[in-house]
């Protein structure tokens, strides 16, 4: 039964209303005289004055009006307003810095407050809602986001007092190194788990005993907390490195990348094997029978029918594994594996929350980006459903 659209878009209305309330009531940011002393928080009105604060709300009021009466042009207009709000977000912080930072105090720094983070969050949800309302393809949205990205790039120049920025500028080299280490560990673990996982899945298809044993083992591995698995690999690897010099020569030791890599590989295997196995087993028997009935050889059936049909499901496994590995690699910093987790644990140790952010934010961004990219790729390769929103060119 088709449903007529209600005249009011309650989702946009709710989100805009909540965003308005949090934007006005929670602190936009805080000013601290130096790194250690906790800062004083300012709401938007206190930070940039009521007149400007009201100006900052205008697009939100526009959204409310559009949500009340979304006509034919309503949704594209709402999308435009949302992008405008996103584009303007850094500007309010910059304004706050100009107004409140004492140029006499070079140590003084600007912290980002709850209102700002929540605004980012509500605006992301608005984007999701508007995207599905407009049935916007992923790449179109990415294109629309480009001006926002450029705007933020430009605004970054005005935001030197930003605490996050100051933490970064002190350790630009270390940051880049950590990002590279993080990506290498994730890439290495996911890549090798794909190869090893595919081999295990193929072996499982040959022999049901291997299948039972393999799944029991991999399921067991998943119940061990990541923290413990990293720790438990320390001693055996240290022992191995002390016994075999060539291993030590490769850089294997109890602490560092080796145990991290092994533990990541272990965790990645379960989702990878499970998806590959399911992908290869659950091809429609009718399709396989038809393929054989047409006179295709076993090899042809595998390469031309099974594999292309299995690919999206395997990729789904790669997506799950990658997102999981990005998070787990952060934990691996505890055993000296490097990566962005280093900043998190350093920051927690020094109670320097901006350093924690420097580690946590890129990890979050990486996870979301990997999820979005691999998800889009999966949908593109998946010919079984045409429903995948935004996948169609």
């Amino acid at each position: 039964m088709p449903r007529r659209d209600p005249p009011i878009n309650r989702v946009v209305l709710t989100l805009a209303l909540v965003a308005l309330v949090t934007w006005l009531s929670l602190p936009l940011g805080s000013i601290a005289p130096n790194r250690i002393v906790p800062g004083t928080a300012y709401t938007i009105a206190a930070a940039i004055g009521w007149p400007l604060a009201l100006v900052s709300c205008l697009p939100l009021l526009g959204l409310l009006a559009l949500a009340w009466r979304p006509g034919r042009l309503g949704y594209p207009l709402a999308l435009g307003l949302t992008l405008l709000l996103l584009l303007a977000l850094p500007a309010w912080l910059a304004l706050m810095a100009v107004r409140h930072l004492d140029p006499e105090l070079p140590q003084a720094r600007l912290g980002i407050g709850a209102a700002w983070w929540l605004a980012l969050f509500w605006l992301s949800l608005l984007l999701i809602e508007l995207r599905s309302r407009l049935a916007l393809a992923g790449w179109r949205l990415a294109l629309l986001m480009l001006p926002v990205a450029v705007g933020w790039w430009v605004a970054a120049g005005w935001l030197e007092p930003l605490a996050l920025w100051q933490e970064l500028s002190g350790r630009r080299g270390a940051f880049l190194e950590a990002v590279v280490d993080h990506l290498l560990l994730v890439g290495g673990a996911v890549g090798s788990s794909l190869v090893v996982g595919a081999a295990i899945a193929l072996a499982m298809r040959q022999n049901p005993r291997i299948e039972r044993l393999g799944f029991a083992l991999l399921n067991f591995l998943q119940t061990i907390p990541s923290l413990a698995l990293f720790g438990l690999l320390l001693a055996p690897l240290a022992w191995l490195a002390s016994r075999f010099e060539w291993l030590a020569g490769l850089g294997v030791s109890g602490i560092g990348w080796a145990p991290a890599f092994l533990a990541l590989l272990g965790y990645s295997l379960l989702p990878m094997v499970r998806n590959t196995f399911v992908a290869l087993s659950e091809v429609d028997p009718g399709v396989l029978e038809a393929a054989r009935g047409m006179g295709m050889s076993r090899g042809q059936v595998f390469r031309q029918v099974r594999l292309p049909l299995a690919l999206p499901v395997v990729l789904e496994g790669v997506r799950i594994t990658t997102v999981q590995a990005i998070g787990l690699t952060a934990v691996a910093a505890l055993i000296g594996a490097g990566g962005l987790g280093t900043f998190i644990f350093q920051g927690l140790g020094q109670a320097a929350m901006d350093l924690v952010l420097l580690g946590a934010l890129p990890i979050l961004a990486m996870a979301l980006a990997a999820d979005a990219l691999l998800g889009a790729l999966t949908r593109r390769l998946d010919h079984r459903t045409d429903l995948a929103a935004g996948a169609a060119p």
Binding site: P6, N9, R10, V11, T14, A114, L125, I128, E129, S132, Q222, T223, I224, P225, S226, L227, A228, L229, F230, G231, L232, L234, A235, G254, V323, I326, G327, L328, A330, V331, L334, I335, G341, I344, F345, G347, L348, M353, V356, L357, G359, A360, L361, I363, L364, A367, L368, D371
Partner: protein
């Protein structure tokens, strides 16, 4: 009857027994642990007794999972009612985004707001555990045979009657499976809380990593593993056999 009951519940009972035995009487294991760390001065984790840590661990997971169940199932029910259907795509997307957030990152981001201690890990677990519950509840409620919905309406059942007598009982196995996934994953993930000062079974693991003492790590890991197994086998008994 009592025999049958005993065999039915034997697996969870065995795991629970082992778990409590290890938590209370860790001293018996000293020789075994000694074997893993021949040189260390101590092999038994000293700071707080393991039973307290176990109880704190259970507490954290229970609070986070309890909240996740209330919020997840509640939200999924609301967005499948006629009045809330507009919010369905948003809630589904948000739940899947929640799973994408790495728990360490959420934990780290929660510390500035909530301070060190137990609350950051509860928030991280809540967010991480929400997706399986929301996803399965939505799948359970949306996947019902339309003919059953039609018949329920056609017989004159009201919205509440349909929800409580038809939709929830039929979706229950799928919802429970989601809660099971969520809880078992959270039991393992809760160990991370020890890095922000929550005292739970992650504490011996961190201490072991810092001091290079494998025996400490083993104690934490084994107890967490047993807890996960006990809870998981409890869930597998809860799921009805009839279908």
């Amino acid at each position: 009857m009592s025999m049958a009951l005993l065999t039915r519940w034997s697996a969870p009972l065995v795991w629970l027994g082992l778990l409590l035995a290890l938590a209370v009487g860790g001293e018996w294991l000293e020789p075994l642990l000694r074997w893993s760390e021949p040189e260390a001065r101590r092999v038994l984790y000293p700071q707080a007794d393991l039973l307290t840590l176990l109880l704190r661990h259970v507490q954290v997971v229970a609070i986070a999972s309890g909240l996740a169940v209330v919020i997840g199932v509640g939200a999924a029910i609301l967005v499948t009612r006629p009045g809330g259907r507009d919010f369905l795509p948003l809630v589904a997307q948000f739940a899947s985004m929640g799973q994408t957030f790495p728990p360490v990152a959420v934990l780290a981001l929660a510390v500035p707001v909530l301070g060190f201690g137990t609350w950051p890990i509860i928030v991280a677990l809540l967010l991480y555990g929400l997706l399986p519950i929301v996803r399965n509840t939505l799948a359970g409620l949306e996947g019902l045979d339309p003919a059953i919905e039609e018949a329920a309406r056609g017989m004159g059942m009201g919205g509440g009657q349909r929800l409580w007598q038809v939709e929830l009982p039929l979706a229950a196995p799928i919802i429970l499976a989601g809660i099971r996934t969520s809880v078992t994953v959270n039991i393992a993930t809760a160990a991370l809380g020890a890095t922000v000062g929550a005292s739970n079974l992650g504490a011996p693991i961190i201490a072991g990593i810092v001091n290079g003492n494998t025996a400490y790590i083993l104690q934490g890991a084994v107890l967490i593993g047993l807890l996960a197994l006990a809870v998981d086998s409890l869930f597998s008994r809860l799921l009805p056999a009839r279908q």
